[in-house]
């Protein structure tokens, strides 16, 4: 068996056999919640990574697009009886649509102005969740007790829900992985490096940025639907500024530009506070110190971009290997 195949199988076995087996053994809903939360945030971090890590646009409002997805799924489910099967893609499309509308005027802005604009978008959407009481139910939030209904099959067991969340998150992350580890990803990276120069290569910079922003929002919306369906209750504070910063921290601590790093960062920032529960309130300080230390001593993150690209090309085998690329460089 080749090495890439082995590593892929190993990951599959961990996600779809080892973890659920362990969760069943622990036998408590609490652990299932953490596992779900970890998947949701890995997907959020992976989607923000496309915009911030790969295309280099500092995006401070990602949680609000996650919120759009969550509200679309929860409202369609609770008010209109549109279940998970259609609610999930519609949540992604809803978030992507909102992102497209706000992207049109913002994408021409440079660096810091873009960051401030996304901050504004985040605040604006948060205020909509909070104050458009007729639709969003305001600060009281929305309940969604429908459970997951997949093409007519009701999925009620914790294990079943785990599998649905794991499959949706894994497929989404694989798509994001494909996008960033391909020639399309190279084009996005060149935007981050020097977008004027990228234009001189014949690339429509504005269109590329809008694409990355909208695709990223689509997957944030998917994460929102997963969240709404698994917790059964959402409220505006799930999608506020500090959540956007939490996701951004995962991306930076893991390694800007590195998808595997970003996933590790998300896992750490979700699991660490749980592991440190024993320490009570001090745990937030410990997590903060660890993050601070990580950035001081590993400025490229836990798993930097160069390593990540090598990992994807050589270990996961996404390199294009023709006779002329004996080193296995290039993308499929």
């Amino acid at each position: 068996m080749s090495k890439p195949l082995f590593i892929k199988l190993l990951l599959l076995v961990i996600v779809f056999a080892v973890v659920p087996f362990a969760l069943e053994g622990l036998g408590k809903g609490y652990y299932y919640q953490i596992a779900t939360l970890a998947f949701v945030f890995m997907l959020l971090a992976a989607s923000l990574h496309l915009v911030t890590g790969v295309a280099g646009l500092l995006h401070l409002g990602h949680a609000s697009l996650y919120g759009v997805g969550a509200y679309v799924a929860a409202l369609l489910g609770s008010k209109y009886g549109i279940g998970f099967t259609y609610g999930l893609p519609l949540a992604g499309i809803g978030a992507a649509f909102v992102a497209f509308l706000v992207a049109l005027p913002t994408m021409r802005l440079m660096s810091i102005y873009f960051a401030v604009a996304t901050l504004g978008i985040g605040q604006m959407l948060f205020l909509v969740f909070q104050n458009w009481v007729d639709v969003t139910n305001g600060p009281n939030g929305v309940m969604l007790f429908d459970g997951i209904d997949l093409f007519g099959y009701a999925i009620n067991s914790e294990l079943g829900i785990y599998y649905v969340v794991a499959v949706v998150a894994a497929v989404s992350i694989l798509i994001l992985n494909r996008l960033s580890h391909s020639y399309y990803g190279n084009a996005l990276r060149s935007l981050r490096e020097d977008d004027q120069c990228t234009a001189a290569m014949g690339i429509n910079v504005t269109v590329m940025k809008i694409q990355a922003f909208v695709i990223s929002a689509f997957f944030a919306g998917i994460a929102g639907a997963l969240w709404a369906y698994t917790t059964g209750y959402i409220s505006p504070n799930d999608f506020n500024f500090s959540q956007s910063i939490l996701i951004l921290t995962m991306v930076v601590v893991g390694g800007l530009g590195s998808l595997p790093g970003v996933l590790i960062g998300a896992l750490l920032l979700i699991l660490l506070p749980e592991v440190l529960r024993y320490f009570g309130d001090i745990r937030n300080i410990i997590v903060g110190l660890l993050m601070f230390g990580a950035i001081l001593f590993l400025p490229k993150g836990l798993f930097g971009e160069v390593n990540a690209l090598n990992f994807a090309r050589r270990i996961l085998g996404s390199a294009w290997s023709e006779d002329n690329s004996e080193k296995g460089i290039g993308w499929k």
Binding site: R178, L179, Y183, Y184, R189, A199, A200, M201, K327, G330
Partner: protein, 251 residues
């Protein structure tokens, strides 16, 4: 000979400064064309006007017979023009291979959908073209290195290879020999001449006379934004106005 590029009374004013002042000239297909002038003469500004980086205050640029004035930079690139920069703009945090691939993929075209499904043929084309250019500039063994870690001279070649990966009809080089020593400059002169021999039209900016005099077939001299000479190198060398501009300036 057919004209590939035609400048018609190009003018660019910055505040009160006429950086490029009423410049007209023609470049023929297959020509190796030099643009020289002392510091601040307006050479880079003229290149920026041609490649769409800066809109002209007045005048017109025609490329392959059509006006390209006011077109966005990426559309001009698609018509077959590619350029390098005086201040060397490679993508520092990308590998040498990935740098060059951006030149190729801009022309071949990629989309999020082709990255996910059915983009194999395009990916192969991008990869093959990138390897071909790597080979051409002798950077094959550096394919996997970060561009930021290359020596200055190699980064200069990388930038040219990236521009060539676009398979342009007109290549614009802004001071490619800046910062090179004599032997490196001679090597570069040979490289540019060989490129030109393959039929590629090249516009070359230099502020020293050395490189351009030896290899260019025709020269335009700018001083304070104005064209003061437009002729074969041997004539330009003896032109009193040119001598005055170079001796009178701080060069």
């Amino acid at each position: 000979m057919t004209t590939i590029l035609e400048l018609d009374s190009l003018t660019r004013v910055f505040g009160g400064l006429r950086a490029v002042d009423d410049v007209s000239t023609k470049v023929s297909e297959g020509e190796l064309f030099g643009l020289i002038g002392p510091n601040g003469a307006g050479k880079t500004t003229l290149f920026n006007l041609i490649s769409g980086f800066t809109p002209p205050s007045s005048g017109d640029v025609r490329f392959k017979g059509e006006s390209i004035t006011g077109l966005p930079v990426h559309k001009i690139a698609h018509r077959g023009m590619s350029r390098t920069f005086q201040n060397l703009r490679v993508f520092p945090n990308m590998t040498v291979f990935d740098n060059i691939s951006v030149g190729a993929l801009g022309m071949i075209g990629v989309s999020p959908f082709s990255a996910l499904w059915g983009g194999r043929a395009k990916a192969r084309e991008i990869s093959e073209r990138s390897w071909e250019m790597l080979e051409k500039v002798g950077l094959k063994e550096h394919a996997d290195d970060l561009a930021a870690n290359l020596s200055y001279g190699k980064r200069k070649y990388l930038e040219i290879a990236r521009a060539l990966a676009m398979k342009p009809d007109l290549l614009i080089l802004d001071e490619p020999a800046a910062g090179m020593n004599d032997s490196e400059t001679a090597e570069l002169a040979q490289f540019i001449t060989d490129l030109n021999k393959t039929g590629l039209t090249i516009m070359l900016v230099e502020h020293d006379m050395g490189l351009v005099m030896g290899i260019c077939q025709r020269l335009v001299v700018l001083a304070s934004g104005r064209k003061i000479a437009d002729d074969v190198p041997a004539k330009v060398r003896q032109d009193p106005a040119v001598l005055e501009a170079y001796l009178g300036g701080d060069d």
